[in-house]
Subunit: 326 residues, 2 copies
């Protein structure tokens, strides 16, 4: 939510000479991204987002996720298109930091997604999974099941003070999921963070999937489970089966879930809930003094986890065992 | 440098129904303004800035400065044009706050203004002074000579710890200026804060004067003096007579300074230096714990004040007593 690095117009104009995207008309620092500095650029050729990557770890993964966006965009997925500079590279250096330019996507993210938008994200996610099939780079998911115990250990001591019994819940769930996590489901490129604030719509029409820093190779249906949690619960944390039916139905029309994926979905949804519960818990217990950004509520995901623990089959999500809308 | 108030797309779309500026395509919180929340909007009809006024005091002055921008823009001054809603008002209410929409101006502000840009701001300032002649509203300048003693009293105790002898300098200068401040110079609408970050250029061509919350009615040549301080010193605080000559020459070609204004300019420049020295000192001594924004250096204005104390006449600023470039 801040501009960490100021960029003078002269320096920016010099950087832009390396690109064929027109002359600089204006730029504004935008209040997005908690780790990077972002500017909205306007040039004689259009609008773009310039990102300066402030952290080393993000820079290491730049080739993966910038190439991925280029790959997906070239296959018709509505996502930002990284701009290639005159050297053929998708990122360069500005103010001593790795810097990349992507095209600007119109649209707004839905604070209160409706049923049509849940269907839209289902269709968009499936198309992204299909378009990613032949993407050649590989990045393991550091926040999949193998990474959760470390998060648990970082947050274990703070769990019960936050909610009585939470420590035991986390430990039992982690033990269960480490044992039961499926090993032979279809894998591919997943977004891994497709929350409503990463999906743009114009009206109810999806206009863009953004923010790929968590993208990686993992179980495709795990991405479906993440979205189920992120899109199909109400502000009071109750499950909205109408939204789930719309989301899963639209996904299935583009890419039918296999029988094994359907059987595994409740388990994957528990895993997705545990993953965000753990990272939110770690963030919550490590808020810097004076931070402007309020950490997200970990307990929201306790409620979601407990819901999925009661689910017997995919029919509880509003679709039949054959994958049809029930 | 922050978005203090989040606005949901639905609420924004509803607010925009009150305007005839097209359908919402996108909006981004922008990292500008230390007291207000600003969004860059894109609609089917163009680009705009939406401001939510977070402080009561700013809201009280909204009619003055929004009407002023409309007045100036209608007379050809390159400044933001407030958008009128369907009720004919230049501001409304959004998320419980006064909110206004202005058109977006292309251009970038110069971190290191060059001589041509100093001339550009001189011409632009004079045109603004001329265009403001028939503006009917009046707002006294709370930060003119009558307001400085209060600022001095708020910061007096912290002056010497910051720089030995500063307290005596401030007291003597304030005594002198309160006694010598001119009373019969031409007055009108002044911007009162026309620093480089409030002036946009495309190349060396001025494309916009922005940020009018300090605008008020005061001595016109005092506005010239503020700009002389803001534009014609180098980063090492040395006076650049070439820039001053360009600035004053360009101003004079649009609106010739009277003999009395020319005589008073060194005194007005001392006053302008004291005004920013005092407000920066107050800000410096009252930085909130954990503040992200570093306060501006008050001592920069001690250097400028001492320079103007050595000036004998306007010829020391690079122009002859007749107002011609020397």
């Amino acid at each position: 939510m801040a501009v960490y690095t100021d960029v003078a117009a002269d320096d920016l104009a010099e950087f832009l000479k390396g690109y064929d995207i027109g002359d600089l008309l204006s730029y504004k620092g935008i209040a997005e991204g908690v780790e990077n500095t972002n500017f909205l650029l306007r040039t004689s050729k259009g609008s773009f987002i310039l990102t300066l990557y402030e952290k080393r770890v993000a820079a290491d993964d730049l080739p993966y996720f910038l190439s991925l966006m280029a790959h997906l965009a070239s296959r018709g997925v509505r996502c930002p298109q990284p701009q290639t500079n005159r050297s053929g590279a998708v990122f360069g250096s500005l103010m001593g930091r790795p810097a990349a330019i992507i095209n600007f996507l119109e649209g707004v993210w839905p604070r209160r997604p409706n049923v049509a938008q849940c269907a839209g994200v289902g269709e968009g996610l499936a198309k992204m999974h299909i378009a990613g099939r032949d993407f050649p780079l590989v990045r393991k998911n550091p926040l999949s099941v193998a990474g959760w115990r470390t998060l648990f250990e970082q947050s274990a001591a703070g769990a019960d003070p936050l909610q009585h019994g939470l420590h035991a819940l986390l430990r039992a769930e982690l033990d269960f999921l480490e044992h039961a996590w499926p090993k032979h489901l279809p894998e591919g490129v997943i977004h891994a963070d497709l929350f409503p604030d990463n999906v743009f719509f114009i009206g109810d029409t999806l206009s863009g999937l953004i923010d790929f820093p968590f993208a990686c190779n993992d179980i495709l249906a795990y991405d479906v489970a993440i979205c189920l949690n992120a899109w199909c619960f109400e502000p009071d944390h109750s499950f909205n089966v109408t939204k789930a039916r719309a989301f899963l139905g639209a996904y299935g029309r583009e890419r039918a879930l296999t029988a094994a994926e359907q059987d595994a979905l409740p388990l994957l949804a528990r895993g997705a809930a545990l993953r965000f519960l753990l990272t939110r818990l770690v963030d919550f217990l490590n808020v810097p003094v004076g931070a402007l950004v309020r950490p997200k509520d970990p307990l929201e995901y306790v409620r979601k986890l407990r819901f999925h623990q009661t689910v017997n089959s995919i029919s509880d999500y509003g679709v039949t065992a054959s994958g049809q809308v029930s």
